[in-house]
Assembly symmetry: C2
Homo-oligomer: 231 residues x 2
Amino acid sequence: MPVERVRRRIPEATVARLPIYLRILGERASEEVECISSEGLAELAGVNAAKVRKDLSYLGSYGTRGVGYEVAFLVYQIRRELGLTHDWPVVIVGAGNLGQALAGYNGFGERGFPVAGIVDIEPAKVGSVIGGVRVRHIDDLPQIVQSRRVSIGVVATPPTSAQDAAERLVRAGVTSILNFAPVVLAVPRGISVRKVDLAVELQILSYYEQRRVGVGLQAVGSNDSTRGASA
Amino acid sequence: MPVERVRRRIPEATVARLPIYLRILGERASEEVECISSEGLAELAGVNAAKVRKDLSYLGSYGTRGVGYEVAFLVYQIRRELGLTHDWPVVIVGAGNLGQALAGYNGFGERGFPVAGIVDIEPAKVGSVIGGVRVRHIDDLPQIVQSRRVSIGVVATPPTSAQDAAERLVRAGVTSILNFAPVVLAVPRGISVRKVDLAVELQILSYYEQRRVGVGLQAVGSNDSTRGASA
DNA sequence: CGCGCTTTGTGAACGTGTGCACAACTGCAT
DNA sequence: ATGCAGTTGTGCACACGTTCACAAAGCGCG
């Protein structure tokens, strides 16, 4: 078992679901559940059981036929596969409304993504403390990224500054970006970008909402978290 | 509306991209650009030109060969298709960190999703004013939803209260939900749910970040459905 | 030990999404 | 008019993702 096998490529759609399974398994583990079937996990995750089995099969054959999956072991395997065996400090660019909310949200640190720093271009914002972290000037970005070994940056600026923020992050050495600004970031090859755009989500809901009136009800577009990451 | 043409079903992946095109076209329009080619739009959206043409073809044949697409007309068509010809008031459940940030974020109203109300279960939070909207008690939900004709609800509660919030929303008459809580909501058939989960996004980035170290590979999923990443 | 019950792991079929390549068409110059 | 350069719209092939269906395998019990 200690044989580190060649790392299989895991389909993007599966990668997007693993965190969901992980959270559910964690909850189950804290309720002293030791074993779970693909059927049970599927129900809790809101997906098909066959999909769960196929997803998990990419990690290896870690289930026991006739029984199910050992929760604790599965948690370990998923965490390992997702690279969650150690913390990933993040740096937030933009200390406005959103940046503050993100920094003040403890869920980040709890889930292995401690906020290593918050920066803003506005000198007036520098110095205040949010969620235990002092806001620093954006010029300090390279120093923060290097000293804290940050590889993930969060863009929480107004749209007009987002591209600049991204470029500064990349220059400072960040290789993954989570973008909250409603713009399409242009980044060099090899930099992963994921986007969270509230307006887009609402507009998608609007589409299905609008269709609803015309015809009767119908199944709705589920959230495909199946978005690529990587340029 | 017999004359109203039969509504083609638009692929989900396309629906998810239309809002992106819409935003870009809006920006171009405000810069007095009258016409844009699929190539040009594709570059700005970080996608393939053929994909843009196919996406737009679902709306109808609104381009001019040899020329491109008339920006203003395209904006109109996309807005119509997405149901953005009128506002969609939203109600936010949860006046915590995130709920406040969302309510204070003007982008919502500007993009056609005015905040019709914010509610919280905590009496202590009721009464304060955020972004011009007074926080009300969650028991007022049905009244708000009905009087303001709200069909979209936003769940911004802690995870443990999210399912309850969703059920209250549905009972009050909401048919679409945007969920920020890290839980899988169980809702009746016919209710649309979209999820925004920061931890999941970060964990996906973690996966690619972790792979990066092992091998010097990059560019895993190349193009993606919803996200924009260009180089 | 063997039998029946349960559940996994996966081959294969199907459905959805993507990208190429090119015919069809437009507008302009001559 | 005719030709040419540019761009759309789409058929087609391929890649990716989902679901079914079932053999293989573990477990408990008599």
